[in-house]
Symmetry: C2
Subunit: 356 residues, 2 copies
Amino acid sequence: MTTNTDATTITLPWASDFHCHLRQGPMMETVTPMVEQGGVRTVLAMPNLTPPLTTADMAVEYGKSLQKLAPDVHFILTLYLNPKLTPDEIKKAAASGITAVKVYPSGVTTNSEWGVLDFKAYYPTFSAMQDAGMVLCLHGECPSDASKGICILNAEERFLSTLRELHQEFPRLRIVLEHATTKAAVDCVKSLGETVACTITAHHLYITIDDWAGHPHHFCKPVAKYPHDRDALREVVKSGHPRFFLGSDSAPHPRSAKQGEKPAAGVFTTPVLIPLMVSLFESMGCLDKLEGFISSHGRKFYGLSEKPSGSITLTRAPFKVPTMYTIAGSDQGDGGATVVPFMAETEIPWSITRTE
Amino acid sequence: MTTNTDATTITLPWASDFHCHLRQGPMMETVTPMVEQGGVRTVLAMPNLTPPLTTADMAVEYGKSLQKLAPDVHFILTLYLNPKLTPDEIKKAAASGITAVKVYPSGVTTNSEWGVLDFKAYYPTFSAMQDAGMVLCLHGECPSDASKGICILNAEERFLSTLRELHQEFPRLRIVLEHATTKAAVDCVKSLGETVACTITAHHLYITIDDWAGHPHHFCKPVAKYPHDRDALREVVKSGHPRFFLGSDSAPHPRSAKQGEKPAAGVFTTPVLIPLMVSLFESMGCLDKLEGFISSHGRKFYGLSEKPSGSITLTRAPFKVPTMYTIAGSDQGDGGATVVPFMAETEIPWSITRTE
């Protein structure tokens, strides 16, 4: 990172986002070109489509669709863990350039109804992934079950024993605990070996439970939690820990699905991602840790070249986050389908003013 | 309570609801007649109107408006704690038949922007209330403050030291900790003297945090919390503890205010209140504790006649809670303003089939 003397501009490598929902159909056509707009050129695309990406061929086809929409972006492809992912299919997937397999425990978030109930049933798959050098991405929550005292507040902490077991059983398997939201998760990942990393979203560094209660555009899974949990996320980021890096979990839904009787879970940060990060790291007084968090830590863990080519330059030129974006193919204006970004209508101190 | 031999009917005294928002204007005209529909004929009406009820005269006038809408209901009138409530005004209020004073810490819920920041400043008022035999009703939450680690999850627990102090300072003052949502609050009230009681809502006996996350019609303040907190509420109710009783905190908002960018806090239970209670107490196997909870415990604490005249009879005849109710003066149908009840469109096993 280079900053000019009076810190009115900052130049960074294009960022990497190791967890992003790019959807399909018109929403995909809308948000995929916004990846670069947000300062990102490497993005790990989630497989929880309808139907989910369950085979190597499906993921490869999806990658082609994304590539057409953003030719300069490097898409990291993933598969949705499912019974079709035999050790043979894992070999095929690895040979097809697919990097990671995503695990959703059943029923914890959008399109997780095909998710996993029993991790042990997948040990042969994990073993094949370990041998093939693939990455296991975990949505780290237990399904809520009031009879066991499990709810969305402790679902992540209750999952950590599973993370420990998987790491113990497959010590060479690279595992990413995604979108950590609790001090317990941060402490757990720190305590584990070099093959276990953790992504943190932009929004979980900004908000706590008070911000999503009564605010559906801030509602996501895992939910943002206590102030001390947010403090723990901020502290580990400020420490520059190399196994913690950006995975935005940007998850667009049509505005109508967010504002209604049962708002969908997901916060949409893609078009403003790196301006959000620069602004936050500046406010935390740790701009020196920014490049590691938004780029090099994750690239190293995923085995990518440490510095991608090109750069983005941000200027201390406040910009107002749009109220909403029109979804591709929809009418403009109030009658059209729209998607609302995180921090809509608020001013962010930094904006991207040049890319190379 | 009398039940017939095969328990297909239950006859109870008209219930008492010691915490209810009856609003003003068209919403008041809509919901006040529903008090009886829900099985209630004694109702403590909250003073957080716009503007709030800050003087005895205002409360008396409000009581007249309510009485016109429901001539057979006994309205217990309250005042909103504020600097106008001098010891002299308290004497006047007591002489006017006003029973209680409500305290909102500043900023914790609907229309609490006029709320209290410093309880000690009101000690002369509390002293006058103690002498006049008035009841202090507490919205028991500290305002959220991330720098102090306070959020909506621990705001109630953090308030309990204030409750203890008030009770110690004014041991003869009757205090009600309203809408308890946590095990900590239940334990605290149990540990205090005979002048401290606690209301519990219907919805907090039904739901936990998972039920309001992504469901704005279940969102209220204080928010429903962990399964173990709900367990504690259910256990104290099942125990028949005489200082715990029903205060529904039914809080209607127009549907448009609940389904939008920033849903208002409040769950609307008035029209289905006692059917909800009978159904829940049956499922908990403690129908023998029902009459105490919905009537006699609270009446005794508030110094009312222990049994009101008349009765309601419920029959095990399932009914479907309406999708919504049209607000008075509004057009019928989709274009009109409506209010959505708790458990809309779900079936409740018991319904009120006769009143006397």
